[in-house]
Structure formats: structure tokens, C-alpha cells
Amino acid sequence: MAEFNITDTVDITDVVCPVTFVKAKVALEELDDGDILSIRMNDGEPVQNVPRSIKEEGHQILKLIHNADGTYNLIVRKVEE
């Protein structure tokens, strides 16, 4: 992941929908414009839905990385409204 300068990380694999998105959203709120957040999420519903919800909030999605343990890291750049 050398290509992204990650500011912070959040793990949402310990919660289920809709708290997955809420947890990610709260983490993004604590960052500044342009900061990069890595969100670790489970396969299935989270990876199907969370990227879309983050996009709808106006943030910029950079990459979805498939981890060796079956989880995913979504790399997002915070965009202030």
C-alpha cells in the first residue's frame, strides 16, 4: 500500500449493517479535507454496499484492496462539503 499515504485506519469488521457505514462515517468526520482513510471491511454485504454509501457522502474512493485474510481495505480520500 505504498502508493497511498494513509492518515488513519478504521476496522468495521466487528459490526454489521448499518453500523458498518456509521462507523466509517464517524472515522471520516474526524479527518481533515484530503486525508486518506483505510477502512477494513468484511466480504459480502459490507463490501457490496459501504463503498457506494461512502461515494454518496461525497468522498473520493481510490482503491479496494483484497486482503489475504478475505477482508478488504477501502482507501478513501476525505472530501469536505
Binding site: D43, V47, Q48, N49, P51, R52, K55, E56, Q60, I61, L62, K63, L64, I65, H66, Y72, L74
Partner: protein, 286 residues
């Protein structure tokens, strides 16, 4: 003069167990009522009913316990607030719809607008038996399109544009049918797997996926005494003119071939699916 119960039923007045008492079915399109209509319904239910309404299984509203002698007054009072009686019996029933693309992030079509169009064209049309239309905005199918004689479901005809793509990988996972494969410098769609849900379009962070709205139709659904899921017979329809040609063909097929009291599913079964497929196919091709 004897009471014409058939005429009352056709006009939305459903005979109750209690003598000379009716549950009045109101006209509702796509589950939508204005607050003015709601206030009118409230006033009528308080004054002429028993102070409550029943929400039907198909997004309708009924005011129970209307007395025979009040029927004309009730109709007039409702009309003042923009509310009209619904229908029952062998005709086109309430057109149901979800909120669709006007409000819902998943909606691929304006379900209410389509419901209104279908309502204007067909509502109350006399047929051999009841005939139901339902409109749902997307593959999530909140409105259960296939329960209806003709179901309309919103979809998207998708297209990928390489120049805007950052190969982030989101679309491949957003797709629930496994139709998208990403390689190092290309993305392919398995057309046989794609169900036109449009999730790739709504999930894509860079707008590399484009979606053109379309209609996916199902025919012959029924969920009453016998249960059958409506079947898709055509590719996705791209425009409203074609949609209406096809719905015309389906409803005319039913009108011509159905026996009295026979639902669309039974008619299709009796005449053969190929006969209907040919008719709607001709309409689809213009």
C-alpha cells in the same frame, strides 16, 4: 328501487357483512396521497365511518362502515378534497409502485411516474377478470413486481468507459451476480449473468460506468388462491413508448383470450406461453 350491488362494487363500495354497510375503497396511485387527500379521508372516516381506515395489501385505503344512504354524500365530500373511489371486480385495479428513483438511491426509474401513466391508460378498464400492475424501481424489488399480472421493474443498461476508470475494484464487488471481471487493464461483463441492477453504475467512484434506464417486464403473476410468479419474456425495454406498446399487447391478449373469471396466469397456461410471447415480442419490436 333494488340496490345495484355490482355497480357499487365496480365503484369501490365493498359490501360488508353488516346489512347496507360498505367498506369504501379509494383510488390511490403508487401508494401516494397528498396531505390534503389525507385530511379529506380523515374527515369522511370520522363523519361517515367509524373513525378509522384500513390500509389494503396493495397500497389502497378503505373507509369501512359507510352506510348505503350516505354513499352519494360521501362521494361528494371526498371529491371536494381530490379523493375519488377506487374499483373492485373484473377490471384494472390500483397500480402500485415503490418510491423509485425520485427518492430512493437504488431506483433506476421513476416508478410513480410510470404508475401514473399506466393508471391513466388502464385504470378501471373492464376485463374478463381482475388485472394488476405493479411498478418497482430496481432489482431490490421492494414492490414485488412478479406478484402482478404485469410487473414493471426498473433496470439499467450498462456501459463501461475505460478512460475514466481507475481500476479501484469496487464494481466487481458491488455486482451481486458476479458478472464483472477486472483484469489488469480491462473490465469485462458477462451479459448472461448481468441482471441490469445498475449497482456498478451507482457504486463507481469515477463515473466510468454509465447506465441507461430501462424496464424489465414480468407477465402472469398472481398471489391469491393460486400462486404463480410472473415470467420475464422480453429483453429490457429502453423507452416508455415500447413499454406501453408491450403493456397494450399483454392486456389486449388477456381481453381477447381470457374466459370470464380467469386470471392472466391461467389464460397464458391454457393458450400457451408461446402465443403471448409472440404478441408481446411483436409489440417490443415495434
Amino acid at each position: 328501487m333494488a340496490t345495484d350491488y355490482a355497480a357499487l362494487k365496480a365503484g369501490g363500495f365493498m359490501r360488508q357483512k353488516q346489512k347496507n354497510t360498505f367498506s369504501l375503497r379509494l383510488k390511490v396511485i403508487g401508494g401516494t396521497l397528498t396531505t390534503e387527500q389525507l385530511r379529506t379521508i380523515q374527515a369522511v372516516a370520522d363523519r361517515f365511518g367509524q373513525g378509522y381506515v384500513h390500509l389494503t395489501s396493495r397500497q389502497g385505503v378503505e373507509i369501512p362502515f359507510i352506510k348505503l344512504e350516505d354513499i352519494e354524500t360521501v362521494k361528494a365530500e371526498l371529491a371536494k378534497g381530490g379523493v375519488s373511489p377506487g374499483v373492485c371486480g373484473p377490471r384494472v385495479r390500483t397500480v402500485t409502485a415503490c418510491q423509485g428513483g425520485k427518492c430512493c438511491p437504488s431506483g433506476c426509474i421513476d416508478a410513480y411516474e410510470i404508475a401514473e401513466t399506466l393508471d391513466k391508460r388502464y385504470f378501471g378498464r373492464q376485463l374478463p377478470h381482475k388485472f394488476k400492475f405493479g411498478v418497482t424501481g430496481c432489482q431490490n424489488n421492494c414492490l414485488k413486481a412478479e406478484e402482478n399480472d404485469v410487473g414493471v421493474k426498473g433496470g439499467m443498461i450498462i456501459d463501461w468507459e475505460k478512460d475514466s476508470c481507475i481500476f479501484c475494484g469496487v464494481c466487481e464487488k458491488a455486482c451481486r451476480s458476479g458478472a464483472i471481471t477486472i483484469t489488469e487493464d480491462n473490465i469485462t461483463v458477462d451479459a448472461a449473468q448481468c441482471n441490469n441492477c445498475g449497482r456498478c453504475v451507482t457504486a463507481c467512484p469515477t463515473g466510468a460506468w454509465h447506465g441507461e434506464s430501462g424496464y424489465i417486464l414480468s407477465f402472469g403473476g398472481t398471489f391469491g388462491n393460486s400462486i404463480q410468479k410472473g415470467s420475464e419474456l422480453l429483453p429490457i425495454i429502453k423507452d416508455t413508448d415500447t413499454l406501453l406498446r408491450v403493456t397494450d399487447a399483454a392486456i389486449n391478449f388477456f381481453d381477447e383470450h381470457a374466459k370470464p373469471g380467469e386470471r392472466f396466469a391461467k389464460t397464458i397456461e391454457r393458450t400457451g406461453w408461446d402465443a403471448l410471447k409472440e404478441k408481446v415480442g411483436e409489440a417490443y419490436n415495434g
